[in-house]
Amino acid sequence: MKRPGTQLLFMLPAIVLFTLFLMIPMVGSFYFSLTNWDGLSPHVDYVGFQNYKTLLHDSEVWIALKNTFIFAALVTVLQNVLSLLLALLLDKAGWLVRFLRVVYLIPAMLSALAIGYVWTYFYNPVLGVINVMLDNIGLGAWAQDWLGDPKFSMYSVVFTNIWQWTGLSIIIYLAGLQAIPHDLYEAGDIDGARRLQRFRHITFPLIAPAFTVNILISIIGSLKVFDLIYVMTKGGPGTATESLAVLLYKKAFNFNEMGYGTAIAIVMFFVILAISVIQLRILRGREIEA
C-alpha cells in the first residue's frame, strides 16, 4: 500500500535544496534584473523593465545570441552524430571495446578549466602541437591561428567541447542500444534487411528515448556554455566566440552592471526553456516501447 506521506518525506530534502538553491535565487535574480544594481553597492535602485528594453537594442546581445545558437547547433548535431556512430561500433563484447568506452569517457570527468587551458596550448599557432604536427608531416600550409582567427575560433571551441562530452553521449546511446531485444534483429535478418535498413527501421526508432535525452542535454548544455569559452578565448577574438553566458558575466562583473547582466540571464533562461519544451514535445512523440 503506497503511503503518500512517506513519499513526501523522502522527497523533502530534494524539494528543500531545489527551493533554496534554484527557486529563491531565480526569483532574486528576476528582482535584480529590474534594478540598476552595480553588484557591490549596498544601495539598489528600481528601474522597472529598462534593462530589458536596453538589451533588445544592444547589438552585442544579438551577436552573443547568434554565437550561442551557432555553437549549440554545431555541438548538438556533430556530437550526437559522432557519439551515435561510435556507440554503434562499441556495441559489442570484448575487452578492447570496454577499454575504449572508458577512454572516451575520461574527458567528461575532467574539469573544463583544465581542458580549456590544455587545448589553448594545443591550438597555439607557433608552438602548439597541432600546427607543429601539421608542419612535420608536410601539411604546414594547413596550419592556422585556431583561436585567434575568427574564421576558425568558433569551430575550435566547438571541437574541444565535443571532445569533452562525446564519451558521455556514447554511454547514454549504449544504454539505449543494449536495451534492444536481439530477436528483433534476427527477425530483420530473416527478412533480408541490410545494415542501413537495420539501423533505420529497428535500431534508430528503438533508441528514441536515449536520443531524446542526449539531444536535450546537448542543447541545454551548449546554450549555457561559459567555462570552456571563458578559459580559451574569453569570447574573443573581439566578439567572435562570445556566448550569452560570457557576455552576461562581462556585463555583470567587468562593467559593474549586475542588474543588466541579470536581465540577460533571465532572457537566456526563457530562451532555453522554450527551446527545450519544443524539442521535448517533438522528440517525445517519437518514442515507442519495445
Partner: protein, 456 residues
C-alpha cells in the same frame, strides 16, 4: 495508482535534476592559494620571538592585547609571494598577538570576488586596491577606510598619493610602480649590431633589420585581453599626454573624445606593425605565457611589456641577458615619455572590527625596509620619496627615461567599462587590420561607454 506513480516520478526527476545541477557546479572554485602562505604565521609560536636574531626584540608594550586575526584578500601572490611571507613573518614578530590570514586570487578573479564579498557583507579586513578610478564605486558605497591620517602619506611621491586618493582623501597604500617599455635580448642586438632606437623611424628600421635576420622582431600574445592594451599604453604618454597633460580631464568635461585624438594614429601604427610582419604570426591566438616563452627562448628579439615581465622571462631562461628601453613613439628630436604606474596597493574595509590592528599592518608595509623587500622581489620601482632600493641592471636602464616624463596606465583614470570595450575593440581591429571592424568603430564604442559611465 497512476497519480502516485506520477508523483513519485516527479520526485525522482527532481532528485535527478538536482544531482545533475549540483554535480555540474564543478569544483568549489575557492581561490585560496594560501596553501603555504602566511597561514604559517598562525603556527609561529612565542618561542620564535624570543629566539629571533640578535635584533632588539620588539617591545611587548603593544603586544599585551587580545589575539586578533586579520583576514586579507589580495592578488599579490603572483608578483610578491615570498616577500609577502617575509613581511607577514616580521609583522607577527613585532605584534605577536596579531595573525594574518591571507587569501589570494588571480587578478581577474579578484575583481569579481572582492565585489561579491563586499556586497554580501563578508568583506575581509584588508583588501587589494587597484590604483585610480577602480576604487570609486567602493568609496561611494562606503566600503574603504579613510587612511589620510597615516604617517606614511607624507612620504609618498605626489603622483602616487594622487592615484590612491579620491576627493582629497587617501584610501590605500601604494606599494610599488611598474613601467612599460621594450624588453630586448641584448645578445641578439649585439649580434646584429643594433643600437637603442630614439624615435619611431629608428624603431621601425631596427625591426626591419631583425626581421631580415629571420628573427621575430616583437613577441606578442594578444589572446590574453590585457596584453592588447600594452602597446597603446606605451605609445600614449608621448603621443597624447606629453603635449596635452589634461586630456583625461577634457574627456570628462566632454571637450575631447577618443575618436578625435592621436588614438587614431596610434591604432594605425599598431596595425602597421602587424602588417609589416614585425609580430609573431597568429598573435591573436597566442597567450601571455606563450609570448614570454617566445621571447625567453630567443625566437623573438623584443617584447613590449611592463617590468613585471622580467621575472617571468628569467623564470623560463635564467641566463637571459635583458635590457629595457621606452617605446620611442616620437618623431626625431621629440621627447619620449614613459608609461609608468602604481601596481600593488593595500586598503582596508571601513567596517572592519579591528581598525587599529589593520592600520598597524598597513603602516608596517609602508616602512622603508619592508617596502624594499617587496620591491626587490617584484623587480619594481619605488613610490616613496625616501626609498631608493638597489635596482637590477635592467631596471636601472630605464631610470633616466623615467626622469624625462611619465604618464600612468590609461585605464586608471577611466570609468569602469571603457577598458573592457578597448580590449574587445583592439582584438576585433587586429583581426584583419581594421577592414571589417574599423578603428573608428572601436574608438566610437569607447567614447560611447566613457560618456555613459563617467558619472558613476
Amino acid at each position: 495508482m497512476a497519480g502516485t506513480k506520477r508523483f513519485a516520478g516527479l520526485g525522482m526527476g527532481m532528485v535527478l535534476a538536482l544531482s545533475v545541477i549540483l554535480g555540474g557546479c564543478g569544483s568549489n572554485g575557492s581561490n585560496e592559494g594560501s596553501g603555504d602562505s602566511p597561514s604559517a604565521s598562525k603556527s609561529a609560536s612565542p618561542s620564535a620571538v624570543s629566539t629571533s636574531s640578535g635584533k632588539a626584540s620588539p617591545s611587548a608594550s603593544q603586544a599585551d592585547d587580545k589575539p586578533v586575526t586579520l583576514k586579507m584578500l589580495h592578488f599579490m601572490e603572483a608578483e610578491a609571494g615570498p616577500s609577502l611571507k617575509e613581511i607577514n613573518k616580521r609583522f607577527h614578530e613585532k605584534y605577536p598577538n596579531i595573525t594574518i590570514e591571507y587569501e589570494n586570487a588571480p587578478v581577474d578573479q579578484y575583481q569579481s570576488l572582492i565585489k561579491t564579498r563586499f556586497a554580501s557583507g563578508d568583506a575581509p579586513d584588508l583588501v587589494g586596491v587597484f590604483p585610480g578610478t577602480w576604487k570609486e564605486p567602493f568609496v561611494k558605497a562606503g566600503y574603504l577606510m579613510d587612511l589620510s591620517d597615516r604617517p606614511w602619506v607624507a612620504r609618498l611621491q605626489d603622483g602616487a598619493k594622487d592615484m590612491e586618493s579620491m576627493d582629497g582623501k587617501v584610501y590605500a597604500l601604494p606599494l610599488d610602480q611598474n613601467a612599460i617599455g621594450v624588453i630586448y635580448n641584448k645578445k641578439i642586438f649585439a649580434d646584429l649590431g643594433l643600437s637603442i632606437p630614439k624615435n619611431w623611424d629608428e624603431f621601425l628600421a631596427l625591426s626591419e633589420k631583425i626581421k631580415a635576420a629571420k628573427i621575430t622582431p616583437l613577441a606578442l600574445g594578444n589572446k590574453d585581453l590585457w596584453v592588447t592594451q600594452i602597446i597603446p599604453y606605451a605609445m600614449a604618454p608621448s603621443a597624447i599626454y606629453r603635449d596635452n597633460p589634461n586630456f583625461d580631464q577634457d574627456m570628462y568635461a566632454g571637450k575631447a573624445t577618443f575618436a578625435d585624438s592621436p588614438w587614431k594614429q596610434m591604432m594605425a601604427d599598431y596595425i602597421d606593425l602587424d602588417k609589416k610582419g614585425y609580430f609573431n604570426k597568429g598573435n591573436l591566438g597566442t597567450s601571455y605565457d606563450q609570448m614570454v616563452q617566445l621571447f625567453a627562448t630567443g625566437k623573438a628579439a623584443m617584447m613590449v611589456m611592463g617590468n613585471w615581465g622580467l621575472p617571468a622571462i628569467l623564470a623560463v631562461n635564467p641566463e637571459a641577458d635583458l635590457g629595457m628601453f621606452p617605446l620611442p613613439y616620437a618623431k626625431a628630436g621629440e621627447k619620449v615619455y614613459v608609461s609608468s604606474a602604481i601596481a600593488l596597493g593595500i586598503g582596508a574595509s571601513a567596517n572592519t572590527k579591528h581598525p587599529e590592528e589593520v592600520k598597524k599592518y598597513i603602516d608596517f608595509w609602508a616602512e622603508a625596509e619592508n617596502n624594499e623587500v617587496l620591491l626587490k622581489q617584484a623587480q619594481a620601482f619605488p613610490v616613496f620619496k625616501d626609498v631608493n632600493p638597489e635596482l637590477s641592471a635592467t631596471l636601472k636602464e630605464l631610470v633616466p627615461y623615467l626622469n624625462v616624463g611619465t604618464y600612468n596606465f590609461l585605464d586608471q583614470k577611466w570609468p569602469q567599462g571603457v577598458q573592457d570595450t578597448m580590449f574587445t575593440g583592439i582584438q576585433s581591429v587586429l583581426v584583419d587590420g581594421g577592414k571589417t571592424y574599423s578603428v573608428d568603430k572601436m574608438l566610437g564604442e569607447m567614447d560611447k561607454v566613457f560618456a555613459a559611465k563617467k558619472g558613476q
